[in-house]
Amino acid sequence: MKKTAFLGALTVSGLVAGAAAAATLEDVQERGNLNCGVSTGLPGFSAPNSAGEWEGFDVAVCRAVAAAVLGDPTAVEFVPTTGQTRFTALASGEIDMLSRNTTWTFSRDNDLKFEFVGVNYYDGQGFLVPKALGVTSAKDLDGATVCIQTGTTTELNLADFFRTNNMDYEPVPIETNAEAQQQYLAGACDVYTTDASGLAATRATFETPSDHVILPEIISKEPLGPLVRHGDNEWGDIARWTLNALIAAEEYGITSANIDELAEGTNNPEINRILGTEGNLGEMIGLDSDWAVRAIKAGGNYGELFERHIGESTPIGLARGLNAQWTEGGLLYSPPFR
């Protein structure tokens, strides 16, 4: 029924109703693809490659959900959204889920009526400064000119940070990361502030990355995660547990390489339950038994995705840090599959 949305819309009255409100899962299955909102371009998290396929850490979450629900990780329609249009796109049903480095906050959850299904990256706002400036702490930044990306929580955090520390600053709001980079490199601002992951990604592309340092202060908590609309709990559960499956898979050592072997049955009941050889977890969330197998196969477990898109072997070179498994001192902690 691909045509109905468009054909119906083309009719001048535009009166043909799409069933956006009720059951997202049914919609997605009927449509045959998942509409997933991503960023218009953020290095390592979402960007199209030269073949036009979207790639990145946020994109991988969409693909895993599509694989779990539809059995095909490529059955995703990526809808690029800006900081300003993302929430409306989700609220209006234009997209089924939003996986776009979005910070989980109280008001977004309750006032804007969204449901965050988990955290796929624990981030925090940091500062990038040229080494030549001789600044070692964010507290030394009194009077500095600061480049910020608009339309995010960043500018609120920044205002609060400088106010509580009784410092002055000159904000230079910038629309895109590319421009912010250009402005920063040209010296139009002393400091560039955004999520620390973004800073690392940006710094990695400089001609001489070693001339710039990321200050030790992280001034905010930015739990970034995928989100869905309030009110459709079944769909929210699918997104939540797909993400959890990716995280749990890493914890239990399920990788895209050994998953076929493990899916035949192991003596670890938790792995068996995740991979559907034991119990009926798939049925409980309205999918078949090997949904998690497909989700993990789509790109690998959480650790594999991290390494491939933003890990230390990539130009972006992020360390796991907070995003390590709880067993290794990080915050990733999937509830048990039981």
């Binding site: 045509k3 949305a5 054909l7 409100a21 371009g41 800006t82 990361n177």
Partner: protein
């Protein structure tokens, strides 16, 4: 007196002197240079300043262009090649990004095997505009122009052919109703022509298309709107805006000229509201608000919402252009039409509009140029037009950090398109002026 000079010998030259070269300063290059560049102190000053400016610009730009790298897989590769060939501090452009991604900048994410489809669509658009733009083409061709939007839609998006056909049929149904009822009553016919097609579209068109598609599955592979991007997107939004806004714009212009109070004021209010608010606000309205105004649960493509908004926006501008054309017609034409006993619609269709539209063509072309340039604003609502794509390309790890090269390419492409169109509009204007004399 005559005695003294009885024998005045007059000098008579019998052969022409050979033509002499004009003085050196009055001929050839020197004269031209003197007259055109150094004819007074002000001119000398201006010339020197201009030369200094040109030298300044070229001295900065040329090395960058000449040292450009055209084939590399990523920015860091580009920098390596530059270090090797031109030395580490040379200013060098990395146009490899264009060779690597030009297909995306032009076609967006449209499947490469179907690149012929946008090209065919462009040709269809040109063919559809021809009867409007060139006076020499028979007016029967306008029927093709009317059918073109459906054809273009079908070629671009694909899917079953019955969809657009079923929608187009609505207009035929409306016309048939009009003809059928006008034997009884003109007003009833007009009302019927509005109501019946709407009912048809609401309740019949969808199932009809579905049924036909299942019986006779003719069609092209469906390409979703999210795959549209780059210059293709700009063109589609611009083309759709102009093609769809022409009829609406003409109606608005007539409404603004009408002496029926309510219709006049509604048209004026519509035109002024649309023109008084920037396009970017309308685009945000399309992206954030349009869904509020439609029945709950309705949901359409962002691209379609943008096209609707852009159409409304362009129609207000077209209306003003057409109004100019209508106002420029001598009053005698209106009076002559009345004297012939033609009713309002006939006199408009047969006498006034053909002449008024002809005068308005340059204005319409200019509106199109403006609209085409303004399509770059869709980047702010997350559509991947050339500028949006340039951001997306920069976000890939290979090309992160590249800046000017993409803008130079995009600017050049826009310049070529808009400049050629503006030349055409100037040519038309001159032709019109000659005809009027």
């Amino acid at each position: 007196m005559s005695d003294t000079h009885a024998q005045t010998v007059r000098f008579v030259r019998e052969s022409m002197l050979p033509e002499q070269e004009p003085p050196l300063a009055e001929s050839g290059v020197l004269k031209w240079v003197r007259e055109n560049l150094f004819s007074g102190w002000l001119n000398i000053l201006l010339t020197v300043l201009s030369l200094a400016f040109i030298w300044f610009v070229l001295s900065h730009l040329l090395p960058w262009f000449l040292n450009s790298v055209w084939s590399a897989g990523s920015l860091s590769e580009c920098r390596e090649i530059r270090d090797e060939v031109f030395g580490p501090d040379a200013s060098s452009a990395c146009f490899a990004v264009i060779t690597d991604r030009w297909h995306q900048l032009v076609f967006g994410f449209y499947p490469p095997e179907f690149y012929w489809r946008p090209i065919v669509a462009l040709l269809l658009f040109l063919a559809a505009m021809a009867p409007v733009l060139f006076a020499g083409i028979p007016r029967k061709a306008l029927w093709f122009s009317a059918a073109a939007p459906f054809l273009i839609y079908f070629v671009l998006w694909g899917g079953t052919i019955w969809g657009p056909l079923a929608v187009a049929l609505g207009f035929v149904v409306g016309y048939a109703t009009f003809v059928g009822l006008s034997r009884f009553n003109a007003l009833l016919a007009t009302l019927g022509a509005i109501v019946v097609p709407i009912l048809y579209w609401l309740f019949v068109a969808g199932p009809l298309a579905g049924a036909l598609a299942s019986v006779l599955p003719i069609g092209l592979t469906f390409v979703p709107s999210d795959d549209f991007g780059g210059f293709q997107l700009s063109f589609i939004i611009g083309m759709a805006g102009i093609l769809l806004s022409l009829p609406l714009g003409i109606l608005l212009a007539l409404g603004r000229q009408s002496n029926l109070f309510i219709i006049n004021k509604t048209s004026v209010a519509f035109i002024e509201i649309i023109r008084g608010v920037p396009l970017i606000v309308w685009l945000f309205t399309a992206s954030l608000l349009l869904n509020y105004f439609l029945p709950p649960g309705t949901n359409f493509d962002l691209m379609l919402r943008v096209i609707i908004m852009v159409t409304l926006f362009a129609s207000a501008y077209i209306a003003e252009v057409v109004r100019g054309g209508l106002a420029a017609l001598p009053k005698g034409q209106y009076e002559a039409a009345d004297a012939l006993g033609l009713d309002y619609w006939r006199s408009m269709r047969l006498i006034i509009l053909p002449q008024a539209l002809k005068i308005s063509i340059p204005g319409i072309v200019n509106t199109f140029i403006g609209l085409f340039k303004d399509t770059t604003l869709v980047v702010f609502i997350g559509l991947l037009d050339p500028i949006g794509l340039s951001n997306a390309i920069r976000a890939s790890t290979e090309w992160n950090g590249i800046y000017w090269e993409l803008f130079v390419f995009i600017g050049l492409m826009f310049f070529i398109c808009c400049f050629s169109m503006s030349r055409y509009s100037i040519y038309l204007e001159n032709k019109l002026q000659r005809e009027h004399r």
